[in-house]
Amino acid sequence: MRLSFYPGCSLEGMASDYARSIDAVFRNLGIDLVEIEDWSCCGATAAHSISQTMSVLLPARNLAAAEKMGLDLVSPCAMCFNRLRFSQNMIKKKVFDIPWPVTGNVRVHDMTRFLAEPPMIKSIKERILRPLNGLRVVCYYGCQMVRPPKITGYTDYENPQTIDRIAAAAGAQVIDWSYKATCCGASIGIARREIGESLTRRILQKAQQAGAEAIVVSCPLCQSNLDMIQKDRSKRHTPVFYFTEMLRLSFEEHGDPKWFKMHFTDPVPLLRAKGLLS
């Protein structure tokens, strides 16, 4: 199986560990990810805040490139996925003049939902060498992947299940909680720290109250927010994993502590205690 892959800017910087784990997991699953040639940024929140035209045109350029490849598109970043879908909608409405040949008909998947389809779950289960037994996790989705449902196509936007299904397939014990899709503040923390921290801290607290030992996410910005807020807290640490990191851990016989060296909250002690890392 081949898919075109739109990594997004974060995966080259803040989330390069996410990129490495995606690479390892998809190689293991035997799915070929072909990076879109010469992709450019989707514009994120800034583009749609300042200029609506840019927010449609920037993803459209990447959609045009993906259409040329003739493959389904998969995006690991929640924001990129949302913007690509949004742009597709606007292209079909024909509101803006787009300088590239694009029809908006390419299928855009978000990575979690692609891997949570029943056949993919089955092939994940077949490849698990070391199930993550006894690891209690909560899954956190954030906003952009599930909302607005008209654009993302999620019908269970109040209680999404995609990462839950993947984490359960990897053998982790998934805990149900109420803050799955509450906003973590995104980039507001850079300009107005107190707002960002109040939102992120609440999510962290609720995760700990639910009894989670780790949080599983799929969005680079959610990961860095939830991870960095714990940088100077000597109290209880709750590591924040990308869902592909969990998969990679269960796919390979011997995990490597080096995989997690970019995390602020070191997950190695927890994983060693559970016997998941030598």
């Binding site: 910087g13 390069s16 800034a46 583009a47 805040s49 906003c143 507001i188 850079i190 300009a191």
Partner: protein
């Protein structure tokens, strides 16, 4: 009726000390324009406040989301553009998702933000507005956004630098930056996209320049 009018005007008077405005003295021009441009039926709003209750940051806003929709209906454009509300909004789309009448509140705020960005009014949340602007600047310089360059450019903006020095948070931010660099989370150099030229052209076209 009198109560409703004074209730709506309360927030207003505190902010600017302006005279009381009468409901309906502006006509429907602004409402019609917003409805036309966003494709949202704004007049359907009947103030159930679900948007405000769903909003995770409503307590940081000066005009609450449901009030903002009422302001649009009344045509109070300037108050909206001057508000902190439109910049505080996270675009998390809770309001849009839970509105019983499908009034896309986040989309309306987004449109207002666009208007504010193209107006001469100084935004109330300058640091947030400058961040969005900086992001687009970096984006059109390299086609992709390098976080290291984004943060550098952002902190070197005179307004932001001044604010950080005044708040005494600059040292903390610098230390965080160093830790991020050491952890390898910030990369000094990342590949550029060859699309720079195309994007620059598109960007200047959207600002009305002739290319």
């Amino acid at each position: 009726m009198q109560n409703i009018i004074s209730g709506l005007n309360q927030a207003h008077e505190n902010d600017s000390g302006e005279e009381r405005k009468l409901i309906g003295d502006r006509g429907d021009y602004f409402l019609n324009r917003m409805q036309g441009e966003t494709g949202v039926d704004i007049s359907a709003c009947y103030q159930c406040e679900r948007c405000t209750n769903a909003c995770p940051v409503s307590h940081f806003m000066d005009i609450k989301p449901h009030q903002a929709i009422r302001y649009v209906q009344l045509g109070w454009r300037e108050d909206l553009i001057k508000s902190s509300t439109i910049w505080i909004c996270l675009s998390c789309e809770m309001c849009t998702t839970y509105c019983p009448y499908e009034v896309e509140v986040a989309e309306i705020f987004n449109h207002l933000r666009n208007m504010a960005a193209h107006s001469s009014i100084t935004p109330k949340e300058k640091s947030l507005a400058v961040f969005h602007q900086t992001f687009l600047e970096v984006l059109q310089k390299s086609g992709r956004v390098n976080e290291f360059r984004l943060m550098n450019t952002y902190y070197l903006k005179p307004d932001i630098l001044h604010e950080r020095i005044k708040n005494k948070t600059l040292k903390e931010d610098l230390l965080l930056g160093i830790t991020l660099l050491r952890k390898g989370r910030l990369k000094l150099f990342t590949p550029k996209s060859k699309a720079i030229k195309e994007i620059k052209r598109v960007y200047s076209q959207t600002r009305g320049e002739i290319v």
